[in-house]
Amino acid sequence: MVEKVERYIYAVTRKLPEKQRKDIEQELRSSIEDMLTDRTGEEKPSVADIEAVLNELGDPSLLADGYRMSKKYLIGPQNYDTYFFVLKIVIAAVVFGITLALTIGFIVEPPQSLGDLFGSYMGSTFGAVFQAFAWVTIIFALIERKEVSLDREFVDGEKWSTDKLPALPGKESLIKPAEAIAGLLFAILAVVLFNYADHLIGIYIMNEEGITRITPLFNHVTFRSLLPIVNIMLAVGVFKELLKLAVGRWTVGLAFANLFFNAASFGLFFFFIRSAGLWNENFLAFWAEKGFLPVGSDPLILWNQFIVGLIAVVAFAMLLDSLVNLVKAYKNRVYR
């Protein structure tokens, strides 16, 4: 019956820091023995006695919390509401995105059977929801560990004083949740689309028999090989929006993080869009066939000019976003 006591002690101490474990173990053991002696005197304690004493000490994990003193959180109370809020949005967006992608797929190429459709829907949805859950949780766990450095107002060890209180953030430095959520939704939709339905991005033409044909934008094989780049780029985007939601206003730290993420996204975007063989030849030929292009022009050259223009626009937008938010952050920073 002593075994039960030992099991209880083990349950309390197993997760405690190594250094204190032995000492707590011994103290707990002698305390339990004291409590047993108090009940039974010199007699051997019965099962009921032991159980009564252990019940008096209560749930071993709560007792262990008492010994541990500080509680550690994966996601603490101050971030939990935001976490839950973001999680709901992300999961809703993922489910919506997959439903959309599969609906388009269903219309364009009807599957063999409804069973197939249902199976692939459930499979994709579960997989994606778990992924979304994992990523949101990982990001918030990182924020939990780093939050102090993202949003702190005092330097370590600096003494607090009333005139060092942060200035009230100007209205313009507040990040509207709707803005971040829109960015998040957009990025998640893009993740779903690129990962599950890149062949559905293209031109839709319905012929006389009412059958829709798609001319995809991308060369499927090249695109699949570049998918990791696309996903990292989109993950950077998602991470950026989540940070914005979590911090809630443009701090200098956040604005620099934003600059960094924008630069990273742009680098990846540039690499992706300039990759050889990315475009579907039929897609380029399509424009020439339909007579959209001047006679005698090379569709590839025209297309490349368009892409260069697109790169310039994206670069400008990213630069603008980075600078505007840096200015906002500096204008509204803690020390004036």
Binding site: S31, E33, D34
Partner: protein, 116 residues
């Protein structure tokens, strides 16, 4: 509903006692005591503290330097004895003063004739 009220009351009482238990514990540790003997002494004085609360508390106070401890292994049941440290004595006296002020103002707030 009644159950909820009881639970609420329990948790409020627990919260109220949490801060005061330290005073009760330190008041009895001028002489060395081990965990369970302290549980009994306190309970004899009407201040029953769950062992599961007291044992971790003793260690915390020790770590904060308010108590000091030593293992007595001379008997067949080794026991860890705690007593108030020098620093703990100073803190104890200051805490006691604070408690006096606190209980006086609560008394005057709740017995002035204007209260609830």
């Amino acid at each position: 509903m009644l159950n909820n009220l009881d639970e609420l009351l329990d948790s409020l009482v627990l919260e109220m006692r949490r801060g005061v238990i330290i005073l009760a514990v330190m008041s009895r540790l001028g002489d060395s005591q081990y965990g369970y003997s302290l549980v009994q002494i306190l309970s004899d004085q009407g201040m029953s503290v769950e062992p599961g609360t007291l044992y971790p508390l003793l260690r915390r106070l020790e770590r904060q330097g308010l108590l000091e401890s030593n293992w007595d292994t001379s008997e067949n049941r080794p026991r860890k004895y705690y007593r108030v440290s020098q620093q703990g004595e100073v803190i104890y006296k200051r805490l006691l003063e604070e408690w006096g002020i606190l209980s006086k103002s609560i008394k005057s707030l709740t017995e002035s004739g204007e209260e609830l």
